[in-house]
Amino acid sequence: MTTTALTAAQAGLVSCETCSLLSRPAGGAESGYCPRCGGELAQRHHHSIQYTWALVIAAAICYIPANVLPILTTNTLGSTESDTIMGGVVLLYRTGSWPLALIVLVASVMVPLGKLVALSYLLISVQRGSIKSNQDRTRLYRVVEFIGRWSMLDVFVATFTVALIQLQPLMSMEPAPGVLFFAAVVVLTMIAAESFDPRLIWDTPNGRQGHHG
C-alpha cells in the first residue's frame, strides 16, 4: 500500500472498527451503526487528537512524581528506607543483578517514557499532516498499544510485596505516593493509546476535515 492509496473516508465510506465491514455512512451528523455487528460507526474518532493530547500531557505530568517520589517504604528493624524506581534500579545494579536492573529500567522507566514520546510523535505527525513513513508509524502505534497491558507489572509487584511482606516488627513494607502516580501514568497512557485513532495516520492533509479539534 502506498500513502497515496484511497482511504475509506476519501471514498465516502466508513469501516466498522469491530468487524471491519465497509458500509456507507448514514446521513447527517451521525455515521450510524454497523449493519452487521451493531457497533457504533465513526469515520474518525471524535476529537481523537485533543483527547489523546490531554491524556498524554496528564501522563507526562504524573510521570515526574512517579519517578521522583518513593514507591515503596521498607521498615527493617526500626530503620526506614524509602526507594524510588531509579533507586531500586541502582540498588539492583550495585548488588550485581544487572539483568533484573535492566528489566526494571526498561519496563518501569523507559517503556512509559517511550509510550509518551511515541504518542506525542504520532499526534504531532498527524497534526502536521505528514504522509511520510505511514507504515512505520502504524507499526509504532501497534507496539504502543501492545506494550500498554504489560506496564502495570510494577504496580502489581509493589502491591503484592506490600501485601505479603508484613513481618511486624521485623520487616514491613508500605506503598509510597510514587506508586499512585506510576499507576496513573500507566492508565493514562493506555487510555491515550486507545483514544488515538490510527486511521488518522493515513489521512492526507486535504482529505481530513472536521474530525479533529
Partner: protein, 584 residues
Amino acid sequence: MADSSDSSGIQQAGIPQATVVPQRRVRISVVWIIPILAAVVAIGIAVQRIMTEGPTITIVFKAAQGLEAGKTFIKYKDVNIGQVTKVELSSDHSKVEVTAKMAKSAAGLMVEDARFWVVEARVTLSGVSGLGTLLSGNYIGFEIGKSKKEERKFTGLEVAPIITGGQPGRQFLLKAENLGSLGVGSPIYYRRLQAGQVIAYDLAGDGKAVELKIFVNAPYDKHVSPGTRFWNASGFDVSIGAGGVEVRTESLIALLAGGLAFDTPPFAATASLAAADAAFTLYPDKATAMKQPDAVSQRYVLYFNESLRGLSVGAPVTLLGLPGGEVVDVGLDLDPATATIRGRVEVVTFPERLIARMSRQQEATGDALAKSQQQRRALMERLVEQRGLRAQLQSGNLLTGQLFVALDYFPDAPKAKVDWSREVPVFPVVPSTLPDLEAKISSIVAKLEKLPLEEIGADVTKVLATLNATLENAGTALNRIDTDLTPALRTTMEELRQAVATANLLLKNVDATLMEELRQAVATANVLLKNTDATLLGKDAPAQQELRDALQEIAAAARSVRVLADYLDRHPEALIRGKSEDRP
C-alpha cells in the same frame, strides 16, 4: 474548521464590505480536566514537600563510621529529626562531609553549638551502650545547643558527649601531670559513690600538663568546695617505700577502667561552693591529695661519706622515729677541703608536723615555735650542740634496703654545729651503724670459717677413746674402794662425830666473846660492799657493760657449739671422716 467565506469582491466602490471573521469553532473537550487535575495534584505535592522541608545541614566527621546516605537518621532523644542524604569526602580528602536533610520542626535546633556524633555499639569496661545500633545501623546523635545563632555546617564529635544538656550538676577542670589510665567516661567517686564522669581531656596549651573536664552530678556537686582535692583512683597503687608495701584501690571498676575520687580535707573545708568550671589540681594519690600543705619548711644539706644506695627522693626524715620531713634531692658533692667526692642529701623538714604532735599543754610553746624561725633555729642549735642531735642513714627495711634519714641523739658524737652560713644549712651527720653491723657479721662469719672443724673432730674422737679407757679404770678402782675402804670409813665417821660434839662445847664458850668482834667485821664488810656496788653495778658501770658483752659472746659461743653438736648429732661419722659435704 475554516469555512470558506466568500470575499465577494468589492462592489460599490467606496463602501467597504464588513469583514466576516471566520467563526472558529473552538470546542475544548472536558478531557482536559485530567491533565489539569494531574498538574494540580503534582504541584500540590511539590508545594507540600517544599513547605515541610527543613534545612539541609553539613556535618564534618573524621570518618563515616557506618553512615549511609538515605539510611542513617539523625536522632534527638530517639526521635528522628533528619536523614543523611549524602556522604562524601571533603575536597581535601581528609574528612567526611555528611549532608543531611532535617525535618522542618528541627530547623530551630540547628544552632551554632549544637553537637552531632555517631552513635554506635560501644563495649567498654565501664559499660555497654548503643546495642540497638547493631540491628538498625549507626545513627547520628544530636544534642541541642544553647546559642541562638543558626548554623548549617557542623563538626561532628568523635565521641558521644557524656553529659547531655539539662543534666543537673557542674563541670570542673582538672590539671594533671599525665592522663594515667583515665579516659572519657572514667567515673568520679565521692566516698566510693559514683558522683560524676570525665567528659573530655586534652593536652594543656603548653603541652606540659593534661586538662580533664569533669562533670559532677547534682547531689554531689555541692560537696565540691574551693578546698576540695581530686586524686587519681585509677587501678591499684602499689608503693614500696621505707614504710613497706602498700596497696590501695577505690573500687573494682576504678581498678579496671580507671577513675577519680574527690574529698575535702578537714583543714581546707569551707562553706562556699566551688564555681562551675573552676580549676583543680589532680593529685596522683589520696595521700598526696589530702596532705596538709606545709606552710613552714626548713631545708638542710647532709654530707655523707657512705653509700646512698637505697635512699630515694621522698624517703622520710624522722625525728626520734616520727616522720617530720622528706628527702628532696640525692646527689654528689666535691668536698673542696679534702678533694673527695661525698654524698649530698638535701632534706626538707616540716616543723609544723612535729609541733602538731606535741601535747596539749605545750600548745603555746608549739605555736610560738611554729611562728618564729628564730626560736626554731635556737632550739635546733641547742639540740645539736648540747644533746648531740645528728642525722644518720638508717635502714627502713632490711629486705628492700630502703634507707631513710633519722635524726637521733648521739651524745658521744664529736662536737659539731649546724652551718647556717650556707644557702641551705648543713646539718651534721654521723656514719651509719649499718656498715659496722655488716662488718661485724662478716668477721664472725670469717672466724667461723676458720674453725678447724676436722681437727677438732679428730681430737674429740681421741679424747673419747681415752675417756672410755679412763672410765674403765675408774670402774675397777671404785670396786676396790668399796671392798677395802668401807670399814675404815666407818671408824673415821665415829671419830668425826665425837670431834663435832667437842667443838660444839667449845663454840658455846667462844660465842659470847667473839660476837662483838664479828658484828664489827660485818659492818666493815657492808661498807666495803657498798663501794663495790658503786663500781661494779652502778648505772653505766663499765664492768656491767663488759659483763653483758661477755655474756653475749658466751651466748654466741654456746650457739656455735650447739650448731656443732647438732651437726655431730646428725653426722656422727664426721668425727672420724670429717665434713661430708664434698662427698659425691
